[in-house]
């Protein structure tokens, strides 16, 4: 059953077309890896899906309803941004941050449960700014999960994090999808990780040039090469 439907999504900025006629469907329980070079429009896509950018053409539906008609769909989503920006000395503990994600104050026990699940319970009274990058990302995952979302959306969540934390992070995602059946939509530069974790892949570079099962993508050398070339061109363009 489809949980997200994107139809003919197009976003124009003054100098560039950020997304051009993008259409795809995400089914319940999918683990979708969105890959693409820098500037491909991944963050723009997420901004539109999350209601942060409403200036687009086309339709975006969550749970069967057009998101332009109501913001209620956000209650079913947990979002982990690329690198959450906050003041290093902001006086909030790990507990405070996860609690921000709670919509219902009577669910406070859920905070302890989530912190234990993500192996950060002993950090609950530490200030968020004191933690390492990997620990902070687990806190933001905890905040995203505390309301039992049906969909978890993550925008390049492991950028700038140590390898050990990345491995732990991926094992958490695997468990969330396989055991708790949470639909995951995740943008990444790590082809190996996408190959191991995701059951579906979407290749984006302003347009969508592949969407389907990850096995099909990674067994097609031509497709993988095409993505790699696009990434290389983008890399060389910026350097």
């Amino acid at each position: 059953m489809s949980i997200v439907e994107i139809n003919n999504l197009t976003v124009h900025y003054p100098d560039v077309k950020a997304l051009d006629d993008v259409s795809f469907v995400v089914n319940e329980g999918d683990f979708l890896g969105i890959i693409g070079p820098n500037g491909a429009g991944k963050s723009t896509l997420f901004d539109c899906m999350l209601g942060l950018n409403t200036k687009y053409k086309g339709t975006i539906k969550f749970f069967g309803k057009d998101i332009k008609n109501s913001k209620n769909y956000l209650k079913g989503i947990g979002y982990v941004p690329q690198k959450p920006i906050f003041e290093k000395n902001f006086p909030v503990t790990v507990n405070d941050v996860v609690r921000m994600g709670l919509r219902n104050e009577s669910d406070k026990e859920k905070i302890d449960e989530i912190l234990q699940q993500l192996w950060i319970h002993e950090l609950r009274n530490r200030r968020i700014g004191e933690l390492s990058g990997g620990q902070q990302q687990r806190v933001f995952i905890a905040k995203a999960l505390v309301n039992n979302p049906k969909i978890l959306i993550l925008d390049e969540p492991v950028a700038g994090i140590d390898q050990q934390s990345i491995e732990l992070f991926y094992s958490i995602l695997r468990e969330l999808n396989s055991k708790q059946k949470i639909t995951i939509i995740w943008s990444s530069h790590d082809l190996d990780a996408v190959n191991k974790l995701a059951n579906h892949v979407a290749c984006l570079n302003r347009t969508l040039f592949f969407h389907g099962e990850s096995e099909k993508f990674f067994s097609d050398d031509k497709l993988v090469k095409q993505y790699s070339e696009a990434s290389m061109q983008e890399h060389m363009h910026h350097h």
Binding site: L50, G51, L52, K71, L74, K75, I77, Y79, P81, P84, I85, F86, E87, N89, F90, P91, V92, T93, N95, D96, V97, R99, M100, G101, L102, R103, E105, N125, R126, R127, E130, K143
Partner: protein, 262 residues
């Protein structure tokens, strides 16, 4: 004296709570800017023969909302918009004072505070406004804290961030004019900023930091009023110097390594 202490304590609590959100949003001088624009409102009230605090409230709130709108619409930086608001308010006040015949004792009391002269009606107004604002903050605590911590994530969670921003600015406007009676237009930012900067060095979580800030603020105000009464000097300067003393002491403790790293 009792009225001064009661009003002072209420203002101390109000300024530290509202000020904490302003400091964390990097609006530390916003209170200063609103206070300077309130000076224009005070001068207008004195000229028109209307109770000056009423015109001050009106002008402050309107100025705060306009500058927030202009900052968002024209993408002017926060510090630049504060500079515009600050100078406009004083300039308008000076021009109006020019028409009204120059500086009077009333003008000085608004510039430097006059808590020892606070009336019963003023005290009731201060306590009422403090109570209302604190209740609003308690009711919307999660939304205000979340949008202060990270606006984008707050929006994604369904919080109406723009409305919350305007609410904060509105409450700041009311708080500033209320606090002007204690420390005056010129020293208002001290009440908003200094106890919070000090508390942030101590507190781990938000509630703990807010409580510490309120404690420092109340101590400075109560001690300041009492000392100034005994020595027959203006309370505003005494209060602010005590507040700065607490900050200095904290920095000393931190330098000596006696405070955990925050």
């Amino acid at each position: 004296m009792h009225r001064a202490l009661i009003s002072g304590i209420a203002i101390a609590i109000l300024c530290s709570v509202v000020g904490l959100f302003l400091v964390l949003r990097r609006y530390s001088l916003f209170g200063d800017a609103i206070a300077h624009s309130s000076f224009g409102g005070i001068a207008l009230g004195l000229l028109a023969g209307v109770y000056p605090l009423l015109t001050a409230y009106g002008v402050s709130i309107i100025s705060a909302l306009i500058i927030t709108k202009i900052k968002d619409k024209y993408n002017i930086s926060g510090d630049a918009s504060i500079a515009v608001l600050l100078s406009s308010g004083i300039a308008i006040g000076l021009v109006i004072i020019g028409f009204s015949g120059g500086f009077t004792i009333d003008i000085f009391s608004f510039l430097f505070g006059s808590i020892l002269l606070v009336s019963v009606d003023d005290t009731i107004l201060i306590l009422s406004l403090t109570g209302i604002i604190l209740i609003v903050i308690l009711l919307l605590y999660r939304q205000i804290l979340y949008s202060t911590f990270n606006e984008e994530q707050a929006k994604v969670s369904g919080i109406p961030v723009e409305k919350i921003n305007y609410l904060i600015v509105f409450m700041a406007g009311i708080t500033v004019v209320t606090a002007v009676q204690l420390v005056g237009v010129l020293l208002i930012s001290a009440l908003f900023v200094i106890p919070n900067v000090t508390a942030i060095m101590y507190g781990k979580g938000f509630k703990q930091t807010a409580i510490i800030s309120m404690s420092f603020s109340v101590f400075s105000v109560v001690a300041g009023i009492l000392i100034s009464y005994i020595l027959d000097i203006t309370p505003a300067g005494t209060i602010v110097l005590l507040s700065i003393g607490l900050l200095g002491g904290t920095m000393g403790i931190k330098s000596a390594g006696l405070l955990s790293k925050n």
